[in-house]
């Protein structure tokens, strides 16, 4: 109970710290508009009734992913720059409990990107928000955020050790958008991407959202997404413990 309280309040603190950066605020204002626009112009040719909405959801999900990717990698780097990484790692808790609020916080600020993309799509382009499973959509969205937070944790555990994690962050952004079918359905991608996509929680999250939007069995995808993310959490947790020890040996917690 106390641990849950700590996780919740910790997440809140990090959301506050992140959302007050003027850089973040600018990004948060501009990116959803760009994404909504992209969604509309890329898919204008589509004649399906839900093509536009689907594209907007996909674009919004890309925002969530970017937020988690840069948030998880960037947040740890930020903690290091601020000198707070040492302070939070020094706390008598398992490293996973210290880092998870940061990655979930990035997932949460990412939710905003998803909702804002939809809102702008509605406002600027009149995309009709007629979801086939409205409840399924809300549940899938929440699961997606938690899943991204947990997946972000796995990434974070590798980022703690690397001083130049930024490079990795940048290389991961687009492939995951593509491979997990946030932008285009997986079926149009080359076959070799299939297995990769199948193990990414983002794939199942995007699929659940798409199914909730245009119709389909939402719950299996939600379940798989949640399962994979819990696995990420478990692996991330173990790896963070190992990584923390290595960081203490390699002296990479401080900026030095």
């Amino acid at each position: 109970m106390r641990t849950l309280r700590m996780l919740a309040l910790g997440t809140l603190a990090h959301v506050k710290q992140m959302s007050r950066s003027s850089f973040e605020v600018t990004i948060a204002l501009v990116v959803p508009i760009v994404q909504a626009t992209l969604a509309v112009y890329l898919f204008r040719a589509g004649h399906e009734r839900h093509a536009l909405l689907q594209a907007a959801v996909g674009a919004g999900l890309m925002g969530v992913w970017s937020s988690v990717l840069f948030g998880s990698g960037g947040a740890i780097q930020n903690q290091r720059w601020q000198g707070t990484l040492e302070m939070i790692m020094l706390v008598p808790r398992r490293p996973v409990l210290v880092i998870l609020p940061i990655t979930v916080a990035t997932g949460l600020t990412g939710t905003y990107a998803l909702l804002a993309t939809l809102a702008w799509g509605r406002l600027l382009y009149g995309i009709r928000l007629d979801f086939v499973h409205p409840v399924g959509f809300v549940v899938a969205a929440v699961v997606c955020i938690v899943a991204l937070g947990m997946f972000g944790l796995l990434l974070a555990s590798t980022f703690v050790l690397m001083r130049n994690a930024n490079a990795l962050t940048n290389t991961l952004e687009y492939p995951i958008w593509l491979v997990s079918g946030m932008l285009v359905p997986i079926t149009v991608l080359p076959a070799w991407t299939g297995p990769i996509a199948a193990v990414l929680p983002t794939t199942w999250g995007a699929r659940a959202l798409r199914e909730a939007t245009t119709g389909g069995p939402v719950w299996p995808s939600v379940t798989v997404c949640l399962g994979i993310s819990l696995l990420c959490l478990a692996v991330g947790s173990i790896s963070l413990t190992y990584v923390e020890r290595r960081a203490r040996a390699a002296a990479t917690l401080a900026l030095a």
Binding site: G10, L90, R93, V98, R248, A249
Partner: protein, 339 residues
């Protein structure tokens, strides 16, 4: 198992390994700490005094579990810093100088609440504890302002409040007064003194002799990764026994002249300190040798100010200890070509 000591360090060593160079990467090794042993009693205020790069921060980070020792061992409140990390962390607070290490865009209150949660301070006690600490460090009334608007001194005080949230038994203070104005530094020393008086064990590092002298029960002088001398301030003062100090105010003393002074018969140490346009030259010599005449002869032709002769202070003892540790022109950084 209540250990008699709050801190025990045995043969602590730490080597930093890294790489420099891009096209031709070379491996670098810095032996930052090379065999440090000491004990600190419960409730003691212990100082680790040494020049920049002496290995103070490295030593403190091995004791507070942020760095693994390359070899040697240490215990805090009887718990091993490598194997019983969590036990150690529960009992220690860590505060370092400078203005990093806080969440700038959060208020002081949010910072303290967040760390209170992380440290598992009971929700019911948090409010009281935080109010108490804000009062202690003199930030009460300003706690709702964002930290980014705080002065350096205020940040430093917030750091201390944060380090004390969980009422640690042992407090590690790494150069807390660095970059803080003299008035704030005095306040800070008072706070630290009060904490120690109330029973907290404090390990303080500093490169200000006066700070260590004023606060510490015992001081370990560290230079070159090793403890050069350890004792009470009074004991350390004995290192300058049998010496006399001549101070010369001068303008534009060339390196060569300082070298020549060091070579004079009876001279033990020379130190030069820049004070604006003025340079303060301190020459320690054997008390029975009168070197003042020789000094003035060596400095002939240089514009001089006041010349005084006095008894050595603790500061002089410190200079003597640190200089003795500094072998001429020995580099501590061994660069090995990567195979």
């Amino acid at each position: 198992m209540g250990s008699d000591y709050a801190i025990e360090a045995e043969g602590l060593r730490r080597t930093y390994r890294g790489r420099t160079g891009w096209l031709r990467p070379r491996r670098t090794e810095v032996e930052a700490v090379r065999g440090v042993s000491f004990t600190v009693g419960r409730g003691e205020l212990f100082g680790l005094l040494g020049p920049n790069g002496a290995g103070k921060t490295t030593t403190i980070k091995m004791l507070n579990t942020l760095l693994l020792p390359t070899s040697g061992s240490a215990r805090v409140c009887g718990h091993d810093v490598v194997r019983q990390t969590r036990e150690v962390r529960r009992r220690i607070g860590y505060v370092f100088g400078g203005d990093r290490g806080l969440y700038d865009r959060l208020s002081a209150l949010d910072n303290l609440r967040y760390f209170a949660e992380l440290y598992g301070v009971a929700p019911r006690e948090q409010k009281r504890r935080i109010a108490e600490l804000l009062e202690l460090v003199g930030l009460a009334g300003r706690e709702r302002e964002r930290v980014e608007g705080y002065s350096r001194g205020m940040r430093q005080r917030l750091h201390i409040a944060r380090g004390l949230l969980h009422s640690p038994e042992v407090l590690f203070l790494d150069e807390p007064s660095i970059g803080v104005d003299p008035v704030a530094a005095r306040e800070l020393r008072r706070t630290v003194g009060d904490l120690a008086a109330a029973g907290t064990t404090v390990l303080l590092t500093t490169h200000y002799m006066a700070e260590a002298d004023e606060l510490c029960d015992r001081i370990a002088v560290i230079a070159d990764g090793r403890i050069q001398s350890l004792g009470t301030p009074a004991e350390l003062r004995h290192h300058a026994d049998g010496r006399r100090v001549v101070e010369v105010e001068a303008y534009g003393v060339p390196e060569a002249a300082v070298g020549a002074l060091r070579g004079l018969p009876g001279v033990r140490e020379t130190a030069i300190e820049e004070r604006g346009a003025l340079q303060l030259l301190t020459v320690q010599s054997d008390a029975h040798v009168d070197v003042q005449g020789d000094i003035l002869r060596e400095l002939a032709g240089i514009r001089l100010g006041r010349v005084t002769s006095r008894e050595p202070t603790l500061e002089d003892a410190y200079v003597a200890i640190v200089n003795a540790a500094r072998p001429p022109e020995e580099s501590r950084e061994a660069i090995v070509n990567a195979a």
